[in-house]
Symmetry: C3
């Protein structure tokens, strides 16, 4: 049975905590040799800065080798559906890609954003599940419709600042952005905060901006299992009030998925969904974070981004540490802490 890291939903809070502890050790002792002679293929179907740098560097700091591939750009386009007559653009099927890469490398990581045409299709996350199905080595999610590596980095950052996280108030706030973005980091924000027993509030303009029911339901169930609250709010004041951690993200409204013009007509009235100092003043001296990249003065003001309470850079740095810990875990290479 191959261990994958596709979603934190497949992992227990206890196992994730162990990864976070090891990440803390690696933060202090970055250079290791546990993965000497091992390799990982990094498949980027979409752009990346932090993810690519942290995986490529992280693997090398563990003694291993990372190969960066950009299918459709510098490698062949990939077909992810089964039983298809491949007369479109894709030159290669995921079965062969997974099979060949599994014979070359010891892990495969993939970034595969949704197609943004039909959410009923995209919500199945068939690209990474297809890869995992056909790969004979561990597969890591570098962002699809969720972003579990970001979840680990976020929780490492939260734990560093809040110490005990249970029942602390986590606010995930939608923000304005000129484009209808992926819901991945928002979905992930709900998953990880509820898994660790935080009181979770989702703040968004209206019902059009609710996330997919799977993530709302999972968050609610996880909160309930932890004796914590899960709330949905469309009101700044109640949402920010007493918050311990504010996490911002923009995403496109799912009812208008695949129709960016109609979605924009909705969205353009919500430019005030921007995190600023006045909103942060409503909180319980909360820390603020964002997964980055972030458009300054659109999603959050310069004042917020440059404040001491902004821990977005720390979260970005933690990507390196948690991913190294995860790779060691998947390769069954415990750290001698």
């Amino acid at each position: 049975m191959i261990k994958h890291f596709l979603s934190t939903e497949d992992w227990s809070q206890q196992d994730l905590n162990q990864i976070l502890n090891e990440a803390g050790y690696l933060k202090e002792h970055p250079i290791q040799n546990n993965l000497a002679g091992k390799s990982i293929a990094l498949l980027f179907l979409n752009p990346s800065m932090r993810t690519r740098t942290s995986f490529e560097l992280g693997m090398q700091q563990l003694g291993g080798t990372a190969i960066v591939l950009q299918p459709g750009q510098d490698a062949w386009g990939i077909e992810f559906e089964s039983d298809v007559v491949m007369d479109g653009n894709a030159e290669e099927h995921i079965k062969e890609v997974a099979g060949v890469l599994s014979s070359y490398v010891d892990m495969i990581a993939i970034r595969a954003f949704p197609a943004f045409q039909d959410w009923q299709v995209d919500r199945l996350d068939h690209k990474i599940t297809g890869l995992a199905k056909h790969a004979s080595v561990p597969v890591i999610n570098m962002e699809t419709i969720i972003h579990p590596c970001q979840e680990l980095a976020l929780m490492m950052t939260i734990k560093n600042h809040l110490k005990t996280v249970k029942r602390k108030k986590f606010v995930l706030t939608w923000t304005y952005h000129p484009k209808p973005l992926n819901t991945a980091v928002a979905n992930s924000g709900l998953l990880i905060s509820s898994k660790f027993g935080m009181d979770v509030t989702l703040l968004c303009p209206n019902k059009h901006y609710l996330l997919d029911s799977h993530y709302l339901d999972t968050a609610q169930a996880q909160c309930q299992a932890n004796g914590a609250n899960f709330e949905i709010s469309h009101d700044f004041e109640t949402a920010y009030a007493d918050a311990d951690f504010v996490y911002a993200k923009s995403w496109g409204a799912l009812p208008f998925y695949g129709d960016p013009k109609a979605e924009f007509e909705q969205r353009k009235q919500f430019k005030h969904f921007r995190v600023d100092g006045a909103k942060m003043a409503l909180t319980n001296q909360a820390k603020f974070s964002h997964c980055l990249p972030l458009r300054r003065n659109i999603k959050a003001s310069d004042e917020v981004m440059d404040a001491d309470y902004c821990v977005a850079l720390e979260e970005a740095e933690n990507r390196l540490h948690v991913q190294k810990a995860m790779m060691l875990n998947l390769m069954n290479q415990p750290i001698n802490m």
Copy 2:
């Protein structure tokens, strides 16, 4: 005298066999250190997945460093002709590229597909010969109008399954594909099977799909020297009958080279040139392979690709091993087997 790997035509069967033996050893013992402090530049003028991964990884598994360059994309465009007033798109001449890279690295590999405009020009393979002429380090062919690394991987795969290869029946079958592809792997299929004394059959729709006379003549001559047969067939039944190894590839018809519309009018009537279970049933329990990428249910059916007799993934994996063996050979670093 610098040793290059431009074509298997420049190498004896004996020397290639030695490479294949070393590749077999490396398959069992992948991590070596013979090329510590050595480096290779990988010039990709066209996309790649297997080639790039296997060379980059292979070099690192031998202790060395691989640098990936994509001239015209992330590096400057290159002029390959001599005595030219360079007022076109290319910013740099192959003389300087070869000279500079030779001063930086210990080997240079290049993928340079033909221009698909004039076969009388492209058949001269002037890009790689220009590079080899001006380089002062070994040059490796990563696919031009032939694909000698693929040849080695193919023969390693054939030998693994057929044990003795002499006089075994090798069928190279043309297949349909929506685009007029490079003849490189087809040319190479003929070169390597005939060099190793197999009975070679080229199966294609009609005379328009014959390969360049140089490769037909060389295959015929090599078969003859080995006491083997060389045949051209346009008939499925006789071609597949008693085959021991079926190798599939699509390519554009040379008489319509540079005129994709006219070529397509030809080609579109041959969609039945697809490898399927019924055709494979005509063989002598043949193995099937393809260089990949392969469009499923266009070039070969799912049934064939998923069958036990399909060894395409093994051939792809062998790319890693044969290329490592070749790099060691070019660097005069024998393996202590």
Copy 3:
């Protein structure tokens, strides 16, 4: 105080000489281990062949790791201005890019050509200065509106051939090219030749092709401080006469900056500004060089490029050595020569 390598103007001739001496040592002893566990991010906002290969390889030859990023292509576009509402194309601000990369790697190098729209903006070189302002690790200039790494390679080459360089005649000659190119290497040619006390002549078609006053003034001041001459010439015969070193480069006329059509009307009458054997015959057996890439028979004739006095390949090779010496210097890792 973080040490950067943004411009040779920030470094003394003595310190640069020390770098050149260490580069000479590294030319003979390329494989070192001083930077084991260290890393550099290479940000390419523009294409590169030599720079990328020499930095990536150089870092690995010193035991470290290089990560290549291409913002806007395979990474997110970057905003370099402060206090901006980021509603354009850039997804990320240099503050965050610098902060995140500083937390991952030990050095950041950037290639950021000017925007070619408004020289009054571009001459401020705000991309690299913005990066250096926000980075907490050393920043290296891989070409902006100057190219200081090229300067070091050039001076290493000049010293190798002229031995004493003081008061030797250095001619920087403009050449024709089909496009209005960056003035960076030309500016740098003036900076480094004058800093080392050469007699400097700038040869260009007319006043439109004069370089920015900052570089003219700095060159003049540095020449004066060294007791050397600085001259501007529009005449081949007097400029080439008695030259000891001829350095060629094409650039766009600054008065027509951002208006390539008007600039071309100017430029097209100067196709005879091409270095050829007849011009070189006017010199004091001068060496010739160019930073590459070079369009043969446009900027310089085949005769010149293939002559013994052409040292462009040596200059290109020296890029590797000087950059390794610079990285060691910035990391405070002296070589035990």
